[in-house]
């Protein structure tokens, strides 16, 4: 098991190199280093000398991927790609276009993101699983049918509608909570409430339906029949037998997103004016700040791979077949 985990973690390195290579080639496919310099120096009337100087200063005077003039290992290392990527692995993301340190910015913005994303995640998990269990309990009845119909309806509504509608109803019409904004400490509660609520409602349809499918899949298995043949009540079968087995497929889909909670949600944060990583990303996209986008891509990949490893670890908790082999 440990050896397996080590292998998984080692596997992350080529993946991250691949991610970097992809983002890099995406960028440099259309932009040359000269373009970048010109953009940074203010587009108009830039002398070639100024461009060269800028490139030298910022380390863009080297070849992109392969340095054929160098020798030995330097063929690979003495390139823009290596120089810029290697820094990434040390979480040194450089400066954004407006001259701030990206790494520090990420640090300060992580917390507000998490303040929204974590409660949404936990409350969502609880609501969806409860709802799905209820549907499963009443399977093949009118109640189940209506529940599923409601799910399909809810998942057909755009997430933008939930946000706009929620803001309009709760904040503007009823004046329960402020429409947007963020504060530190206890004050944050009133700012967090609405985004969390909307976040949970936003995916109640698709998630509950997914969990219901998993539960129904389990309920058709033969060990369930055995459990019933013992004389156990339907609720006991559902909670003690089915839920425990269903944890395996559930964890597969759920654990992987936990680290990604740090990244925040693009939509929610920008609508509610929360100074998290999501709105940071959106601002960067709108400002066409490649440095920030690149940093977020890298961070996202690292967190995703961490999620995969976490998933593997979580299996050992719920599945004895993984734990004991």
């Amino acid at each position: 098991m440990i050896a397996y985990l080590i292998r998984r973690i080692l596997y992350a390195i080529p993946i991250l190199i691949g991610v970097n290579l992809l983002t890099f080639s995406l960028f440099f496919m259309v932009n040359t280093a000269d373009d970048m310099a010109r953009m940074q120096l203010g587009m108009k009337r830039v002398t070639p000398e100024a461009i060269e100087k800028w490139k030298q200063q910022h380390g863009y005077d080297k070849p992109l991927l392969l340095n054929l003039h160098a020798s030995g290992g330097k063929v690979l290392t003495d390139t823009i790609f290596f120089q810029k990527s290697a820094r990434m692995f040390a979480f040194d993301f450089g400066m954004s276009n407006d001259g701030r340190n990206i790494a520090r910015e990420i640090q300060t913005r992580m917390l507000p993101s998490l303040a929204i994303a974590l409660p949404t995640f936990l409350a969502g998990l609880f609501v969806y699983i409860t709802f799905a269990l209820m549907l499963t309990l009443f399977r093949a009845t009118v109640l189940d049918m209506l529940g599923v119909a409601l799910c399909v309806l809810l998942m057909s509504v755009s997430s933008l509608f939930y946000i706009i509608g929620g803001q309009f109803l709760v904040s503007k019409l009823w004046h329960w909570v402020p429409i947007s904004g963020y504060a530190e400490g206890m004050d944050s509660f009133k700012f967090i409430l609405l985004p969390v609520l909307i976040g949970v409602i936003g995916s109640v349809g698709s998630s509950s339906r997914w969990y219901r499918t998993i539960f129904l899949e389990e309920i058709g298995r033969e060990y369930v029949r055995t459990a019933r043949a013992k004389g156990l009540s339907e609720l006991h079968v559902l909670f003690r037998h089915i839920l425990k087995n269903a944890m395996i497929p559930i964890l597969t889909g759920v654990v992987v997103v936990i680290p990604l909670l740090f990244m925040g949600s693009l939509l929610t944060e920008s609508f509610f004016g929360i100074p998290g990583l999501g709105s940071y990303t959106i601002d960067a996209i709108n400002a066409q700040d490649f440095g920030v986008v690149h940093a977020m891509v890298f961070l996202g990949s690292v967190l995703y791979i961490a999620g995969l490893v976490l998933t593997d670890i979580s299996y050992t908790i719920v599945d004895p077949r993984v734990r004991l082999q």
């Binding site: 992809l22 399909v152 996209i285």
Partner: protein, 479 residues
Amino acid sequence: MPVILWTDAMIYLLLATGFAAALWIRKRPHLVLPWKRVADSSTGMVSLLFFSLFLLVGLLDSMHFRPALPEKIDGQQVYSAEVLSLFDVLASDMKSRSEKTYSAPLAAYLYAKESMETRDGTIIRDYPRLHHGGAHLADPASELQEDVLKRAATGAAAGGLAGVFLIGLAVGLFHVFARIRPRMPGSPSGHETRAADWKAAWTGCMQRKSVRALMLTVLLLSLALGMICNLAAAYHVLGTDKVGQDVLYLALKSIRTGLVIGTVTTLVMLPFALLLGIAAGYFRGWVDDLIQYLYTVLSSIPGVLLIAAAVLMMQVYIEMHPEWFETSAARADLRLLFLCLILGVTSWTGLCRLIRGETLKLRELEFIQAAQAFGVSSFRILTRHILPNVMHIILIAVVMDFSSLVLAEAVLSYVGVGVDPTTMSFGTLINSARLEMGREPMVWWTLAAAFGFMLVLVLAANLFADVVRDAFDPRLNQD
């Protein structure tokens, strides 16, 4: 002069593929079987009807041309720089009758007060009359309600008549069809005498629950459509937007974008997912390692970010080469196509993984081993044995992905990495209307129109997808 935009070509290609597939399936009873189950489902048929209406609008909107300008230069015909579609021509009334700015649905007055000079020269601030909406009324304050009701009623009556005619036509066609192919399953006629044929065809149709539901829906829909058409002739049924364009027109134009995103994206990703998924599952070994590496890399990048990065790059690229595009429509269209490509590239991983898993299962099955024992080549095994047996997964994925892609477009356009701002889409509609939320009283109709249309489209797609998924469930084919 006809213009075939890139996405138009893709849509035609898709349509041709669908048509060819239908012909292919028709001859093969085991492939027809699941579709019969779809046809037997009321939900399936009704959602399909709604979906086809959207598709019809989308198709009409995909036949583009550039109108000839009246004057000629050197005897050469000159074409307008504006690209129109067949739909634009059909809805030219709606398109051309623009107002100054916002107006509410079915209103006769503008939404904002303006200073106007009356005939006697005094200047007053009041809501001005609309140029087109309700322009025929002498005194909207007293006549509007009555006129709207009257128009709605006549429209509904006409629509109802058209609906009845349509149903009659459909039954007639079914009857003729059943006579040409008397042994077609599901047709009760064929042995009865001619006189009884019509009645038999009718009762035969009505025996099926799905057909009854379908006909009821056709009837209701034609009532509603008749009403809307009649009203749209004199009013802005869904109001107008900031620059006075008819919102109904905008919403209808947005349908095409939604359809393109929903279908072309899948078309783009299918070859990747299919080829790589099957190859990884069948050949295993280093091929599998490589492909798995590829999709882990792609799926480890958060989707929106990858799309954002790619769209940003594409924007720069397009800006750097303005000379490529003859018309702004072509430019916006290319951006739409690129968006589909990028969405496709980022979303193939899920399907690829699914197909790989299924192929891994299939390759252990005995009929594959039997083929291997005959020395059948890998290529033939892949195309004859594995491909047909993963087709149902692909079909289900395609219909399931459609709705999520339509929804994703709205979000992406909002984030600013979606379609070109000049392309009409649900996302751009919402984006433009969002800022007006703060107004008192609220400008709600643009949002309502966008969300409403999107809901109907996505709901129809979701319901249809469910029916298709259930019908293609391999467990149903076991016996």
